[in-house]
């Protein structure tokens, strides 16, 4: 919708809310990368910055919710305007959750730095986080450009994240079976992998909001589900119950 509202203040309000979402998205993207990098570099100070930075993300979500409530009360948005407000509120919620996962990764980094590193795991986690961050960047670009095709592509890419998680799940299991002294570190690393996998799901949800925003209809629920650890005992014969909390 390139046309302007007759009430130009309405346009300004909508633009201000969307600018906040973009700012929030930028902070969350940085938090993901920094959390993974601080683990690889064993940099406690960097991890602490990520933990402290979550507050700003939470505050932005609060502000966005207040802005949206005000806009609904004062302007009664309809059609595309209504879909903008609804999608902004959901995206803000997703970003806030992703921020929490990044913060949780940074917390575990603080613990892991005290232990001897598990070979190869840190780089693998960083690659996974990098993938999630790129998906998030594309999802937010798709939002700004109202690009449903790019959003659909992001949804497809969640499968790659799920596969990376499956691979790490197996790897950590192997380390733990080899030497029980690895268990503590591997448990933390596994949760970090799971955090990344959950972030991917939230990014997927953002991409779905973009499709709803552009087309007015929710995409079909046929997106790829690549996390098989909770349903396929062959992946983890001795620990089939390892992942029971969330199903996607």
């Amino acid at each position: 919708m390139k046309e302007q509202h007759i009430a130009s203040a309405f346009d300004r309000d909508l633009e201000a809310i969307q600018a906040r979402i973009m700012k929030m998205g930028g902070l969350v993207e940085a938090a993901i990368l920094e959390a993974a990098q601080s683990l690889e570099d064993r940099d406690e100070e960097r991890a602490e910055t990520v933990r402290a930075g979550d507050r700003a993300i939470d505050e932005l979500e609060e502000m966005i919710n207040e802005d949206c409530a005000r806009l609904i009360a004062l302007r009664s948005p309809t059609a595309i305007d209504l879909r903008i407000v609804l999608s902004v509120m959901k995206i803000a919620g997703n970003l806030e959750r992703i921020g929490d996962y990044a913060k949780n990764m940074a917390k575990r980094t603080g613990v892991l730095i005290q232990m001897s590193p598990i070979e190869g795991s840190h780089a693998a986690l960083r690659r996974m986080a990098r993938e999630v961050q790129l998906m998030l960047k594309d999802a937010l670009d798709a939002y700004i450009r109202r690009d449903a095709a790019l959003a659909a592509d992001v949804i497809q890419r969640d499968r790659d994240i799920d596969q990376m998680y499956n691979a790490l799940f197996r790897e950590f299991l192997t380390f733990m079976l080899e030497d029980p002294r690895n268990i503590t570190a591997c448990m933390h690393l596994h949760f970090m992998a799971k955090n990344n996998e959950r972030m991917g799901d939230h990014v997927t949800s953002i991409a779905e909001q973009v499709i709803y925003l552009v087309s007015g209809v929710k995409p079909d629920e046929n997106r790829p589900k690549g996390d098989k650890t909770s349903v396929d005992p062959s992946i983890a014969p001795t620990m089939a119950y390892a992942d029971t909390d969330e199903d996607d």
């Binding site: 046309e3 595309i80 209809v217």
Partner: protein, 265 residues
């Protein structure tokens, strides 16, 4: 296991009350309504929205031949009420208007008592055999107009002495007194305050039980609140017609989108 009766589809499948086919309206040389095709459902509130001069009131007035009273106005195409052409030569416009009632923008009670305002239509159409029956019709109509409790003790006071909101409900009661099948409302709330508007909107929702209601409104919020179907008119064309919830969340035509979101279209 027995399936429960499929009431859902029975409710959704409304009968068609009014069918318009290729309706054109001309005021002299001005082509005011262009090729309008629409099917209006029974026991449904249908809202006509659109900018001033888009033809929504003109089209509304075609449905009970109010445009007959304008000399330079010419109507072409078919408008069917229950499958019968209302512009057929054998149709008496007065009888038609008893079936298709109308409520106007400004409340316009007759300069008579509240009682006579309601009794006028039933009297000229011979709907009551005696005084008792007429009393019954007056009470029933005033109750349907959601104004009975406010006027029952002063039925013989002049209708013009009521407040604006009460006058409008009196006019709605007057319109339903002849047992119409369709009720046309041309901006019925534009002269009312928010409380009276709320009462009239509540009334419209109740009237839907028995009538097919067509309402012209400039308030998009009102159209969204009271109607189940919405038709958007622009420059004499019917641009989009559909479920109200669809029109207001996901309109198909960019002109509808521009209008309902308050953009310059």
């Amino acid at each position: 296991m027995y399936d429960s009766p499929k009431t859902g589809t029975a409710v959704d499948q409304k009968d068609i009350k009014i069918t318009a086919r290729k309706v054109q309206v001309y005021y002299g040389d001005t082509h005011a309504i262009k090729d309008v095709d629409v099917q209006i459902e029974d026991k449904t509130v249908t809202a006509f929205i659109g900018p001033s001069g888009c033809g929504k009131s003109t089209f509304l007035r075609c449905i009970n031949r109010m445009n007959d009273t304008i000399d330079i106005c010419r109507v072409e195409g078919d408008i069917l009420l229950d499958g019968e052409d209302i512009y057929d030569k054998r149709v008496d416009p007065v009888q038609l208007r008893a079936k298709v009632g109308m409520v106007f923008q400004k409340p316009n009670p007759f300069p008579k008592s509240i009682y006579d305002n309601i009794a006028y239509g039933p009297r000229i159409h011979g709907l009551a055999k005696n005084k008792a029956e007429l009393d019954e019709i007056v009470e029933k109509s005033l109750r349907r107009g959601a104004i009975w409790n406010e006027v029952k003790d002063r039925l013989h006071a002049p209708g013009t002495g009521l407040s604006g909101g009460q006058q409008q409900r009196l006019c709605i009661a007057r319109a339903v007194a002849t047992e119409p099948e369709v009720l046309l409302m041309d901006e019925p709330c534009s002269a009312l305050d928010p409380i009276a508007t709320g009462q009239v909107e509540e009334l419209i929702d109740e009237l839907r039980e028995n009538f097919s209601v067509v309402i012209v409104t400039h308030s998009m919020q009102q159209a969204a609140r009271v109607s189940q179907k919405t038709a958007f008119f622009h420059l004499g064309n019917l641009v989009e017609y559909g479920e109200t919830s669809q029109i207001f969340t996901n309109p198909k035509d960019p002109r509808t989108e521009s209008y309902i979101t308050g953009r310059i279209g």
